[in-house]
């Protein structure tokens, strides 16, 4: 009886290795297709090339890498001079976009498969149901919905971060020899903005002083047990980092194990109970 799960787990791990190799290979091949188009018609600059290479390798491990890659491409298209645009459009934008989308898709599938093989099936099931006219179980539709929501959430987060970083970087003068880091004009600060800055700093100082006074007064009213708990946690944090690391690792493994136990969906529950009885 015990042999069957062992065989099953070995089979599953072999499958995972095969799929992992396939995904890595696809990403590398797509990157090889994609790089000549990025640098066609321009002198080779190793800096951006290395960044793009690092992002491509990041997609093998992390799904966020694919988003970064798309953002980098969009930024390159916006920042590069018009001549380079013509070059890209002459070679065909499709040939540039296709490998990027392929890398994105492969990275996403790999992430989904690593998380849960059921999820990947759930993503495709509603699409397949249009063609076959077969009703899809509710749990699969929910999986599809949650995958789309997660996708949108990640996209929104990265886009928001990029826009805020762009706005901040826009305020710092870079690349012009006449511009320094000192005057209001260079930072595009209006009189009202400057006043806000000074007021904000003044409020920060008042806040810091009040915070120190209040927290220190309340801190001196700690009970001995509370103080000993605090001391233990501080000493473990600073003097016994190895113990802290072991405890955190154990917690992480425990959480991972709890997440890997699949909850039984309401549709399957009666059947599962019947099978046991």
């Amino acid at each position: 009886m015990n042999r069957i799960p062992n065989h099953d787990s070995t089979h599953r791990s072999n499958d995972a290795v095969c799929w992992g190799s396939f995904y890595a290979l696809t990403i590398v091949v797509s990157a090889m297709l994609f790089f000549p188009y990025v640098y066609s018609g321009s002198d080779f600059n190793p800096g951006p090339g290395l960044i793009l290479l690092a992002i491509t390798f990041l997609t093998i491990k992390r799904w966020t890498g694919a988003f970064l890659m798309v953002l980098c491409q969009t930024m390159l298209l916006l920042l590069e001079p018009q001549a380079s645009h013509q070059q890209v459009f002459k070679h065909g934008l499709v040939w540039l976009a296709l490998p990027v989308f392929l890398i994105m898709a492969v990275s996403r599938f790999r992430t989904l498969q690593e998380r849960n093989p059921q999820t990947l099936r759930g993503v495709f099931a509603p699409v397949a149901s249009f063609a076959t006219n077969v009703a899809v179980p509710t749990s699969l539709v929910q999986n599809f919905g949650s995958a789309v929501v997660q996708l949108l959430r990640t996209g929104l987060l990265i886009t928001g971060c990029s826009i805020s970083a762009w706005i901040i970087m826009k305020m710092v003068p870079i690349g012009d020899a006449d511009i320094g880091f000192s005057t209001l004009r260079e930072f595009r600060l209006k009189a009202s903005g400057y006043r806000l800055l000074i007021l904000g700093l003044s409020i920060f100082v008042v806040y810091v002083l009040t915070w120190i006074a209040v927290t220190e007064i309340s801190w001196r009213k700690l009970s001995p047990s509370q103080a000993s708990i605090f001391l233990r946690s501080v000493f473990i944090k600073y003097y016994h980092r190895d113990l802290r690391m072991i405890t955190l690792k154990r917690l992480k493994i425990r959480r991972k194990r709890a997440r890997s136990i699949q909850p039984v969906s309401p549709d399957e529950f009666p059947a599962a109970v019947k099978g046991k009885t």
Binding site: F181, I198, L201, V208, W219, S223, A227, S228, F230, L231
Partner: protein
């Protein structure tokens, strides 16, 4: 005695942090030549020093409470 030394060191760090904050404010307070980037760097350092000072004060206070309980 050791607790007192730690507490004094902690309050010293807090004082240094407040001095750094004042320095940061001085950097931006001149409207003709405000040094905003320098002020940002100083404020960041001041926050780090403040946190460590407060931490030292808290540890020494907690240790004093624990030692009082033992005796």
């Amino acid at each position: 005695m050791l607790f007192v030394v730690r507490e004094i060191a902690g309050w010293g760090l807090v004082a240094i942090a407040l001095f750094l904050i004042r320095m940061g404010i001085n950097f931006v307070s001149d409207p003709a030549d405000p040094k905003i980037v320098e002020a940002g760097v100083i404020m960041f350092a001041a926050t780090a020093v403040l946190r460590s000072g407060i931490m030292l004060v808290r540890v020494s206070t907690a240790a004093r409470i624990c030692s009082k309980e033992k005796t």
